[in-house]
Amino acid sequence: MNGHSTVGWIARGTAVGGIAALVLVFPLTRSGIEVNIFTEAVIYAIIGLSLNVLLGYAGQISLGHQAFVGIGAFTSAYMTSVHEQNFVAALGVTMVVGAVQALLLGVVSLRITGLYFALVTLAYGRMAENSLFNITSFTGGSTGQAAPKPAAFASDYRYYYLCLAVLAIVLFIDWRLTSTKTGRALLAIRQDPRVAASFGASLKRYTLIAFVTSGVFASVAGALLAHNTTSVVSSQFDFRLALVFVIMTVVGGLRSRAGVVVGSVFFALTDYLFDRLHLSVAINAIPVLPDLSPDLAPLVVGPLLLIFTLTRHPGGFGEMLRPFGRWLRREPSPHTEIDLRDGERVHA
């Protein structure tokens, strides 16, 4: 009855085909500079998923994620340009650095939780920004560090597909993470650590797994970001970026892969869309207000969307996309089902 008809199949096929065309074919029709922007959006999706592991699965908020991404970016740039390693070797080192860093912060998070942990990560991000990113031999000082694209993916288009492939791998790992024992343990720990512990779920072990996964995702995203623009400058990674990361993940919808990806892509493309849709022109036409440059758009629009999401629509984009996902998978609509997620919000 529901979607078993030929029309239903055609509609579903068109929807999937349309999305695939938009993601896979549309960028080929655009200029290299625009493809760089799309690549950045793909990388933002990886960052959003990284934050989703911490915030959504482990229930720990990170306000210092720009440091994770930044350290990944600088490590990869440093390895490829100063030590002249190839891209894959550099990526390996970057992942190890990201994992170790996340492991250390995870150990801290076992003692310091909730609001205090958010504060620690904020201070960590600021420290990385002011201190680590100013070590000239590592980051190249104010001129930045060069990060050449890998030879096999030197064209902007090829690099875009490389990033898409990495995103697919990250999505796969994330899916495995949630659908296995680890995912169920994390869910139980988030809902009630004591009950989970009494059933033998080791808080320590699973929290650290979540942190390391998140750290590796973030450092890989950083490396991809560095080589996308072929150079990294420390001023790219200031604390406003960390807030934008948190906002895009929450607006996207915690624990919803599709939502987080859409949310992250939306925030990465805000300034591009602002420019394309001539929204800044429209705003600049208002006589009293000064000109709004598109790169400020995420800072002004993002928080408004965040407050709207938190107060009116806690599920974010993910919740809005859920009926569409059900339709695609031919699942019946859940009229009789009791939605356990009802009323669920960001958990500490």
Partner: protein, 301 residues
């Protein structure tokens, strides 16, 4: 070294002023208010705007405090109140959003250029400590902080309103049943906290080498939080002491050649280390009781 002490005490007083507002909001509602710094920046922008338009300094200061009060009340009405029953982490994210919005709006309306604002009191050499002249503005910052911390502590210890605020944080339902309006109290605490942030901003901005969008958040929010944590997060005098400890720790480190030459961004390293150390080894704060955590009753989860 001695000069570093004096500089540290003055800088720390600025942190202490911001920390007072953080403690007030935390004490009354268990919220970590990441917008506290931006209440200060908004006040500084209003002061600068009014003063450069020819308004007398005293009136401009009042306008600055008014702007801070307005932003505090707007935040309370449109962000805090709708999320009153939400987990505290949700509110933390929301106030961080408010802070980002304020920075975005300041960049939009004011651009990122560096501005300068004159001090309220101009004389530079009234007092000399360890052979180091302390300007009147610096004395004003210290005096304001001490007066407010003492007044705040007395407010919570001796007045009915103070007791009501504490009651609300411990048991909102029982407090409401006593005929106390939670809404009015929430407005009161956020308004007061915003004015404290505004005061911190407009008193310390003239001492810094210029200000820009996000000035107070970038320069003082993390040290102020560290100060509040050092004070046990619940104590106004604790925030004062914590602020001075953070300020002195920063300036002593910067003045020692070992750090200033080999470690870039030494102050933020020190603040981070201090924060982690306190939370790990003495989570109840320097002045807190020997046992018991500073964590409040995590309510309405």
């Amino acid at each position: 070294m001695r000069q570093a002490l004096v500089i540290g005490v003055v800088a720390g007083s600025g942190y202490g002023l911001i920390a007072l507002g953080l403690v007030l909001v935390y004490k009354s509602s268990g919220i970590f208010n990441f917008a506290q710094g931006e209440f200060g920046t908004v006040a500084v922008f209003a002061l600068w705007g009014a003063h450069s338009a020819g308004v007398p300094y005293g009136v401009a200061m009042l306008l600055g405090l008014g702007a801070a009060l307005a932003s505090g009340l707007v935040t309370e009405r449109f962000v805090v109140r709708p999320l009153f029953a939400a987990p505290r982490v949700t509110l933390l994210v929301a106030t961080a959003g408010v802070s980002l919005f304020a920075i975005g709006a300041e960049l939009w309306l004011g651009h990122s250029q560096l501005r300068f604002v004159a001090p309220a009191l101009g004389r530079l050499d009234r007092m000399s400590v360890f052979g180091f002249h302390v300007s009147d503005q610096r004395l004003l910052v210290i005096a304001t902080l001490v007066a407010l911390a003492v007044a705040g502590a007395a407010f919570f210890a001796r007045t009915n309103l103070g007791l009501a605020v504490l009651g609300l944080s411990q048991n909102p339902l029982a407090t409401e049943l006593m005929g106390i309006s939670a809404e009015r109290l929430s407005r009161f605490t956020w308004g007061t906290a915003a004015v404290l942030g505004g005061l911190g901003g407009i008193l310390s901005a003239p001492l810094a080498g210029g200000f820009g969008p996000g000035f107070v958040t970038l320069s003082s929010l993390i040290p102020a939080f560290t100060a509040a944590v050092l004070g046990g997060m619940n104590s106004l005098p604790g925030a004062l002491v914590g602020g001075i400890v953070v300020g002195v720790a920063e300036s002593v480190t910067v003045s020692s050649p070992l750090f200033s030459e080999h470690v870039p961004g030494a102050p933020s390293v020190v603040v981070f280390a201090l924060l982690v150390a306190v939370l790990t080894f003495r989570p109840q704060g320097l002045l807190g009781p020997r046992s018991g955590l500073a964590a409040p009753a995590e309510r309405a989860r």
